[in-house]
C-alpha cells in the first residue's frame, strides 16, 4: 500500500497540469450542460444567441466538451502509463524494487481518482440539476462507467502499455484508423451484418476488453511486448471475424420465435395501384424490391414493430434464393388495417435469373411486440412539466410569439424513456384567440425506445430530445403552420416490451417487377 501511494503521489506531482485540464473540463461540463435545458425556454432566442454571444456559445459547449473530455483522458492516461513505460530496456524503474501489481494498482488508483470520480460526481450533480434523483440512477451510472472503461479508458491504457511514448502512441492510433476502416468495410460487404447485433456486439466488446486486459497484465507482469501485441492482434482479428460473420443471424430464430398466433396477420395485397416495385439499391449490383402487404389483426392495446425481414424466392422448377435477415425501417403496426411495404434487397444476378418465372415468395418479419401501458394526459403549460415514467419536458416558445408553444423538449435520466406515443391537438389560429382545428388534426410523435440498456453510452447522463410532431403544416410550403396553445391536452402513452415473435406471408405466382429504364441505366453501369 505504501508503494502504491508513493508512486501515486509522484505521478500526481508530475501530471498536475493534465489533471487540472481533465477536472477543469468536467467542471465546465457541469457548469454548461444544465444551461442547455434551462435555456430551452425560448427556442428562437437560443438559436440566435448561439452565434453571437458567449452565453449562446455555452449552448455548444456540452457537445464540444463531450469530445474534449475523452481527449483530455488520453493526454492524462498516456503520460501516466509512460511515466513507468513498459516498452524498451532502458527504463529507470525496471531495476528498482517496483512490484508490478503495486505499480498497476497505483496507475489504476490515479485513473479512478482523477478520471472516474470527477466524472461520476459531475454526472450525479448533472442528474440532480436536471431534476432527477442521482441515487436511483447509480446502477446506470456505474454501467455507463463500465462502458466508458471498455470503449475509451481500456484502449488508451492498452495502447500506452505497448508503446514507448506519446508520439508512438499517437502514430499507432492514427495507424489503427486503417484497420478500423477495413473492418467496417469488410463487415458491410458481408451480407447480414446490418441487422442489430446485440449478441455479436457484446461478444466483440467482451473479446476486445479481455484482449486489452490481457495485454495490460502481460506488460505489467513481465513486459512481454511482443506477446502483448500478438494478443491484441488476435483479439482484433476475432472482432473482425465476428463483425463479418454476424453471429446474430443464427440467433434470430430463437430470438423471434414462431408462434401459432403471433397477434398479427399479413396478406399479400393484389391492388395494382400499390403493386410491387423494384428499384436499384445503393450498389448497382443490388435490386430492391418493395412488396405491399396488408397488415391486420393487431390486438387493441398492443403494437408490433418490424425489426428484420427474411425472404425466400422459389421457382417452380426448383431453384431457390434466400436472403439473410435484413433490417427494416422499424415500421410500427398499430391496431386496425393498413397496407405496409416490405422491402428487401437481392443481387442483380439473382434478380435477372428469377425474373422471367412466377415465384413462390415466403416473407418472414421479425417483430417486437409492445403492450400499451399507462397513459398520462396533461394540459400543456408554458412551464416545465413531469410525466411519470417518461421524464421531464420543457415547452419551447417562439421569441416573437411567447404565448404559443413551438415544440416540446424532453429529458430523461441516463437513457431513452420507454417507447411513448405522444399526441396533441393542433390549433389552427393564433393562440391569442384559440380555436380548435376544424378537422381536429392531431400532432403525433414517438419518443423513447423498447430496447433500453441500463444507460446510454456517453459523458452527459441526461437524454434529451425534441418531440417532433406530425402534421405541423397543412401543406409542403410551410405556410400557416399549426400551433400548440397553452392549455391544449397532451397525451403520453407508454408502451412496454411484450416479447418478440415472427409473422410470415406466402405469395404464389409472384412476378418480380421490372426495373424502370432509368434504373436499368444505373444498374448497367460497371
Amino acid at each position: 500500500m505504501k508503494q502504491i501511494l508513493h508512486i501515486f503521489a509522484k505521478d500526481t506531482r508530475h501530471l498536475w497540469l493534465e489533471i487540472l485540464i481533465c477536472v477543469g473540463l468536467v467542471a465546465a461540463l457541469l457548469l454548461t450542460s444544465h444551461r442547455h435545458w434551462i435555456a430551452g425556454g425560448t427556442h428562437f432566442a437560443s438559436d440566435v444567441t448561439v452565434s453571437f454571444s458567449p452565453l449562446g456559445a455555452l449552448g455548444l459547449a456540452p457537445e464540444l466538451l463531450a469530445f474534449l473530455i475523452p481527449l483530455s483522458w488520453w493526454i492524462l492516461i498516456a503520460p501516466l502509463i509512460h511515466e513507468e513505460r513498459l516498452v524498451g530496456d532502458r527504463q529507470f524503474w525496471v531495476t528498482r524494487p517496483y512490484e508490478w501489481n503495486k505499480l498497476l494498482a497505483a496507475k489504476m488508483k490515479f485513473i479512478v481518482l482523477f478520471v472516474y470520480v470527477p466524472l461520476f460526481a459531475a454526472q450525479c450533480l448533472l442528474l440532480a440539476r436536471a431534476g432527477f434523483d442521482p441515487f436511483s440512477s447509480i446502477p446506470g451510472l456505474l454501467y455507463n462507467l463500465l462502458m466508458l472503461t471498455g470503449v475509451l479508458i481500456l484502449p488508451v491504457v492498452t495502447l500506452a502499455a505497448i508503446t514507448r511514448n506519446f508520439a508512438r502512441m499517437t502514430l499507432v492510433v492514427l495507424g489503427a484508423v486503417i484497420p478500423m476502416v477495413c473492418i467496417r468495410w469488410l463487415a458491410s460487404a458481408f451480407p447480414g451484418t446490418h441487422i442489430p447485433t446485440p449478441f455479436g456486439d457484446s461478444l466483440a466488446l467482451a473479446i476486445f476488453a479481455c484482449g486489452c486486459i490481457a495485454v495490460v497484465l502481460l506488460q505489467y507482469a513481465g513486459r512481454r511486448t511482443r506477446a502483448a501485441w500478438l494478443v491484441l492482434v488476435v483479439a482484433l482479428c476475432l472482432v473482425t471475424t465476428l463483425a463479418c460473420t454476424a453471429p446474430d443471424q443464427a440467433l434470430m430464430s430463437g430470438r423471434y420465435p414462431a408462434e401459432p398466433s403471433p397477434g398479427i396477420e399479413l396478406t399479400y395485397t393484389n391492388d395494382p395501384s400499390v403493386g410491387p416495385a423494384a428499384s436499384v439499391a445503393s450498389g448497382p449490383r443490388d435490386v430492391v424490391i418493395n412488396v405491399p402487404v396488408h397488415v391486420s389483426g393487431v390486438a387493441p392495446g398492443s403494437m408490433m414493430i418490424s425489426q428484420a425481414v427474411k425472404v425466400t424466392l422459389e421457382e417452380e422448377k426448383g431453384s431457390q434464393w434466400s436472403s439473410v435477415w435484413e433490417p427494416t425501417y422499424m415500421d410500427k403496426y398499430i391496431p386496425g388495417e393498413r397496407t405496409a411495404r416490405v422491402t428487401f434487397a437481392m443481387p442483380r444476378s439473382v434478380y435477372e435469373k428469377l425474373k422471367p418465372a412466377p415465384l413462390h415468395v415466403h416473407i418472414v418479419l421479425a417483430l417486437a411486440r409492445a403492450q400499451q401501458g399507462e397513459s398520462t394526459t396533461i394540459s400543456l403549460l408554458l412551464t416545465e412539466f413531469k410525466i411519470p415514467g417518461f421524464g421531464t419536458c420543457t415547452p419551447w416558445t417562439d421569441f416573437f410569439k411567447p404565448y404559443e408553444i413551438d415544440g416540446i423538449g424532453c429529458r430523461a435520466p441516463l437513457r431513452k424513456p420507454p417507447l411513448t406515443f405522444v399526441s396533441v391537438s393542433w390549433s389552427y389560429d393564433d393562440c391569442r384567440t384559440p380555436r380548435p382545428d376544424p378537422h381536429n388534426v392531431q400532432g403525433e410523435a414517438w419518443a423513447g425506445s423498447l430496447d433500453r440498456p441500463p444507460a446510454e453510452f456517453g459523458i452527459v447522463p441526461v437524454w434529451s430530445e425534441e418531440i417532433d410532431f406530425t402534421n405541423r403544416t397543412p401543406d409542403y410550403r410551410f405556410t400557416n403552420p399549426r400551433h400548440i396553445c397553452p392549455g391544449t391536452p397532451a397525451t403520453f402513452t407508454r408502451y412496454h416490451d411484450a416479447g418478440r415473435t415472427r409473422a410470415s406471408v406466402d405469395i404464389r405466382g409472384f412476378a418480380l417487377p421490372e426495373l424502370t429504364q432509368g434504373q436499368l441505366k444505373v444498374a448497367d453501369e460497371p
Partner: protein
C-alpha cells in the same frame, strides 16, 4: 552458493544474431569483476540478461541466488544498477529523485546518501534534465549506493566521462568495495586494471576467459626469442602462442599460458638454437589486444586459451 552471479550456458539471440553465446560465468562474492570486450561484444546484453531486462533464449543465470528470470520487486533492494544509457525521470530534481527512491529501500542510509551527495558535489535542486552527463552518472551512482546493496552492477559506467568525474566515481565505488560485490562492464582497460580483482573477456558473445586479474597477468607474457640466424616458426604453433611472428633472427609472440619452468622447457624444445629468451609481463590493455586480434584472425570457434578458466572463490 557463494557466487554473487552464476550463469550456465546462457544464450541470447536476437533474430539470427547471437549476442550472448553459451556463457558460463561465476562472480564470487566480494569481487570487483570487470567484464571487458570490444563494442558489440555482448557485455550490455549479458548484464541485461542478469538484471532480467532481457530474457535468455536458453541457459540460466542466478543473481544473489535468485534465478534472473525471477528477479523483480524486492530482489532489487539488494542490487544497485547503473547504466550509461539508462533513462531517468528527467523532470525530477536530484533531491526529488533521492526522496522518491528512499522509501523503496528499507536499508537506505541517509548518512551515506548525504555523504555521497557531498562527495559527488550533486546539486540537489537541479532537475536531472539540466545535468551534465557526468552529474547524471553521479546522481545515478548516489541513488544506487545509498542503500548499501550487496551487489552493484555497472554497465559502462565511466564511458564518455572526463577523468576527474571518472576518478570521483571510482573513488566513491571503491569506498564501498569492501562490503559489496561489484560487476562492471567496460572497454576501457586502463581504468579497470587499477581496481578490478577479476576480469572476464567477452568476444562476439563468447566468454573467452574469466579469472582473477593477478592470474591473468601472471599467465600472459610477451615472449621474445633471439636466435642465431633466420629461423621459421615451428610447423605447429601451439594454441597458447598468440600473434606469433618471425623476422630475421627474432621470434615474437604472446604466451597465454605462461608458467616459468614449463614455458622455458617448452621454448628450449621449440628453439634449441635460441641465444636469448625474454618474458615480459604485459599490461591488461596489451593482453586484451592480443586476445582480440588473435581471436579475430582465428577461426570463429577458436579460443586463445585452452579452456576458459573458472574463478576460484
Amino acid at each position: 552458493m557463494n557466487a554473487a552471479i552464476h550463469t550456465e550456458k546462457l544464450i541470447r539471440r536476437f533474430g539470427r544474431t547471437t549476442a550472448v553465446d553459451s556463457v558460463d560465468l561465476d562472480v564470487p562474492q566480494g569481487a570487483v569483476y570487470a567484464l571487458v570486450g570490444a563494442n558489440g561484444a555482448g557485455k550490455t546484453t549479458l548484464i541485461k540478461l542478469l538484471m532480467n531486462i532481457h530474457r535468455p533464449t536458453s541457459g540460466r543465470a542466478e543473481v544473489l541466488g535468485i534465478g534472473s528470470h525471477l528477479l523483480a520487486g524486492k530482489a532489487f533492494t539488494q542490487i544497485g544498477y547503473v547504466s550509461e544509457n539508462q533513462e531517468m525521470p528527467e523532470w525530477m530534481t536530484v533531491g526529488a529523485l533521492l526522496d522518491y527512491y528512499r522509501p523503496f529501500y528499507p536499508q537506505w542510509d541517509r548518512g551515506l546518501e548525504q555523504e555521497l551527495v557531498r562527495q559527488f558535489g550533486l546539486p540537489l535542486d537541479r532537475k536531472l534534465k539540466h545535468l551534465s552527463r557526468g552529474q547524471r552518472m553521479k546522481a545515478s551512482f548516489a541513488s544506487s549506493l545509498a542503500y548499501r546493496p550487496p551487489l552493484i552492477v555497472l554497465d559502462e559506467p565511466f564511458s564518455g566521462l572526463d577523468p576527474l568525474v571518472r576518478d570521483e566515481l571510482i573513488e566513491g565505488l571503491l569506498e564501498r568495495a569492501t562490503e559489496t560485490t561489484i560487476f562492471l562492464s567496460s572497454h576501457d582497460l586502463a581504468e579497470i586494471e587499477s581496481f578490478s580483482s577479476h576480469v572476464g573477456f567477452l568476444e562476439q558473445g563468447r566468454l573467452l576467459f574469466s579469472e582473477e586479474l593477478t592470474e591473468l597477468t601472471d599467465r600472459f607474457r610477451d615472449v621474445t626469442v633471439t636466435l642465431g640466424g633466420p629461423s621459421p616458426l615451428p610447423a605447429r604453433v601451439p594454441s597458447a602462442w598468440l600473434q606469433a611472428q618471425a623476422s630475421d633472427s627474432v621470434v615474437r609472440f604472446v604466451h597465454s599460458g605462461y608458467r616459468q619452468h614449463e614455458t622455458e622447457r617448452e621454448l628450449a624444445q621449440a628453439f634449441p638454437a635460441a641465444r636469448d629468451v625474454s618474458f615480459d609481463p604485459m599490461p591488461l590493455r596489451a593482453i586484451f589486444l592480443a586476445i582480440a586480434k588473435s581471436s579475430r584472425n582465428a577461426a570463429p570457434a577458436a579460443a586463445p586459451a585452452p579452456e576458459p578458466r573458472r574463478i576460484e572463490a
